[in-house]
């Protein structure tokens, strides 16, 4: 009776059986990577905005403090998006008829808001509070990156839970003096660990990892 299979079938069988294990493992690994990739998290991808607003120009160029626009960052969960009025404070004088700023002027005239696209967007079941973080010595750039070098705003970090937990579990790796919270060119010192330990004690920073810290 003729052979149904070529001899090589044996080898193929063996290889495929063992190969399957690695194949599946690799697939899972890939999935994990994709989940962390910017494609999922939208990290490091600049968003289209109605106005080509440049943080680089305003922060690095004009040296405007974060809080000039994000007024409620120290007392509210929400850092605050500047009302059109804030833009007009300057731009009624400077570039008062630049075509780029037409949407701003239009908004001010008609009283309808500018609709920005959200850059840092946590899921609805996560309750993040800006005020407590800046009050405990977490710098703006620690999470938002070097905003002063972002012509178009993008999200620096993954904003995934593991990223949050990294700091919530060992804050000493990231905290800085309250005085430096809003400085964009603050560089962590060599002895960050030591400084961190000291600040954690001084600011009574707790390592809050209970679920209800962020989820309610």
């Amino acid at each position: 009776m003729s052979q149904i299979f070529h001899r090589s079938a044996n080898t193929i069988a063996r290889v495929s059986i063992f190969g399957a294990v690695f194949f599946v493992a690799g697939l899972l690994g890939l999935l994990a990577e994709v989940n962390r990739s910017p494609w999922m998290t939208d990290a490091r991808t600049a968003r289209e905005q109605p106005i080509q607003f440049s943080h680089e120009r305003h922060v690095a160029g004009n040296g405007i403090d974060c809080r000039y626009c994000h007024t409620s960052v120290e007392d509210s969960s929400f850092a605050g998006i500047p009302p059109t009025k804030t833009c007009m404070n300057c731009h009624s004088e400077i570039f008062s008829n630049s075509p780029f700023l037409e949407p701003v002027r239009d908004s001010f005239r008609t009283g309808t808001s500018i609709q920005w696209t959200r850059v840092h967007d946590l899921p609805d079941f996560v309750y993040f509070n800006h005020s407590i973080h800046v009050n405990k010595g977490v710098g703006c750039t620690t999470c938002h990156g070097q905003v002063d070098r972002m012509p178009l705003m993008y999200q620096q970090n993954s904003l995934q839970m593991e990223w949050c937990l990294d700091c919530h579990r060992n804050p000493e790796k990231y905290v800085r003096p309250r005085s430096a919270v809003f400085s964009v060119d603050y560089q962590a010192p060599e002895d960050q660990e030591a400084l961190g330990q000291k600040l954690v004690a001084e600011y009574q920073i707790q390592k809050l990892t209970s679920c209800s810290t962020c989820h309610r």
Partner: protein, 452 residues
């Protein structure tokens, strides 16, 4: 061992040779024309499988609310069916593995489809833990895997133990079954007329040539797997029983559960094997291979395990009284006299009273009666799980939140659907695979013995 040759004692009818055995068994798959009966039965089974699909689709789209579950009765048909199917899934491995190790030669003709049945039952069981969750699409969270949330499952939860116990059991029994099949697949490969058949069976036979070397490897592997499977027979239902025993709910929180669940599982398992074996041997004229001896032995096993289960019931009630705990004490009272008393009494009838008939040899030799009893036991064992789950939940600690559970259409359709799925798989099995191990049957023949 010397086989007495009375009609009930032999495991294979006289007059068979290697050839006849092989012919008769492989013919069912290869040559014999598929009967109208098969088509009829298969289409009915298939219909219920579709019912299952519809029910599950609706469940996922609409939510658990289509079932009758509520607070306090958070689990009802879903978990009842799960435990029932897992229980049924026990006989297979027990017969194949344990009886193999115990050198119970009579197992050979029934082990194959007992194992198949196990697989199918487990796959039916597997449906429920997945779909009884409110958000099945997230059920993969029950598996420990590194994730972006830095969160692991809760290893203290019996449900996690279930995940491992059941999946291990499924894997091992699948392997066991497949390894057992290899020589027969080779036989089919060689006897198959169609090219496709040859190819497929060939693929599955994994190049089996029946050399002494192969046989040696095969025996070793089979024995090892049997060794692996044996502890599982005990472990799986023990773990399943932990779902209840570990909780604090009166009627669940009981140390007797593990042994009593295992016994119950084997009980229902054998009942199911019997339920399937009797018609199959009739339809496919396999009386020569599945003889009265098999039926008798299974009946005896049922009798024993049934008595263990009965002992379980008694202990439960006794401890409830002996604990002098007002909540524990209330449970048996509620089962005996509460709103679900009917279920309780019929389970006593099905699981304890009726099976006592098996003491009588007459009954053990009466095939139709055995068939009926085995079905009754299946029903009884389902009721047992229902009673354990629902009556314990519906009246727990605070009377203010006592409630009633009544199944909805979808509860029933899901349950019936799984039975449909089970039968569908079984029909396909008997049609496309040798339902009795040819190789092992050969080994049973006198010729084989002479050669030793």
């Amino acid at each position: 061992m010397a086989e007495p040759t009375s009609s009930q004692s032999q495991v294979i009818a006289p007059g068979h040779t290697f050839g006849t055995v092989t012919d008769q068994i492989s013919a069912i798959v290869l040559t014999r024309k598929t009967s109208m009966g098969w088509y009829a039965g298969f289409s009915v089974a298939l219909f219920f499988t579709l019912v299952l699909l519809v029910s599950l689709t609706n469940l996922v789209i609409t939510g658990i609310g289509i079932w009758g579950n509520n607070i306090p009765v958070g689990w009802a048909f879903d978990i009842t069916n799960f435990v029932w199917w897992i229980g049924i899934g026990h006989a297979g491995t027990l017969i194949s593995a344990v009886l193999l190790l115990l050198k119970q030669s009579w197992r050979t003709s029934i082990n194959r489809f007992a194992e198949a049945m196990t697989l199918f039952a487990v796959s039916c069981a597997g449906i429920f833990p997945l779909f009884h969750t409110g958000r099945p699409w997230l059920a993969y969270w029950l598996f420990p895997y590194p994730n972006t949330m830095n969160i692991w499952p809760q290893f203290r939860s019996p449900l996690i133990w279930d995940v491992f116990a059941v999946s291990t059991y499924a894997t091992v029994s699948a392997l066991f079954w497949f390894v057992g099949l290899i020589p027969d697949l080779a036989t089919l490969r060689d006897r198959s007329q169609s090219k496709v058949g040859r190819f497929i069976y060939g693929l599955l036979a994994m190049g089996w040539r029946g050399s002494a070397h192969h046989w040696h490897q095969y025996e070793t592997a089979y024995l090892l797997l049997a060794g692996l499977a044996t502890p599982l027979v005990v472990s799986v239902h023990t773990v399943v029983s932990f779902d209840f025993a570990v909780s604090i709910l009166p009627g669940w929180h009981t140390t007797i559960f593990p042994p009593y669940f295992v016994a119950g599982a084997i009980y229902s398992g054998f009942a199911m094997v019997m339920t399937l074996a009797i018609p199959i041997r009739a339809v496919y004229k396999l009386e020569d291979f599945i003889t009265m001896r098999h039926l008798q032995n299974m009946a005896k096993v049922m009798l024993v395990t049934g008595l263990i289960v009965a002992y379980g019931y008694l202990t439960e009630a006794f401890i409830a009284w002996y604990s002098a705990d007002k909540y524990e004490g209330f449970v048996p009272l509620n089962r005996l006299t509460g709103p679900y008393a009917v279920a309780y009494w019929s389970l006593i009838l099905c699981n304890i009273i009726i099976p006592q008939l098996l003491w009588l040899k007459k009954v053990r030799l009466n095939v139709p009666l055995l068939f009926i009893i085995s079905i009754i036991v299946n029903v009884g064992m389902w009721l047992e799980r229902f009673v354990i789950i629902v009556t314990s939940l519906h009246r727990d600690f605070l009377p203010s939140s006592w409630g009633m559970y009544s199944p909805t259409f979808w509860d029933w359709s899901t349950f019936m659907g799984t039975i449909g799925l089970f039968l569908t798989l079984l029909f396909l099995f008997v049609r496309f695979l040798p339902m009795i191990s040819i190789a092992e049957m050969r080994a049973m023949l006198p010729e084989a013995k002479v050669n030793e």
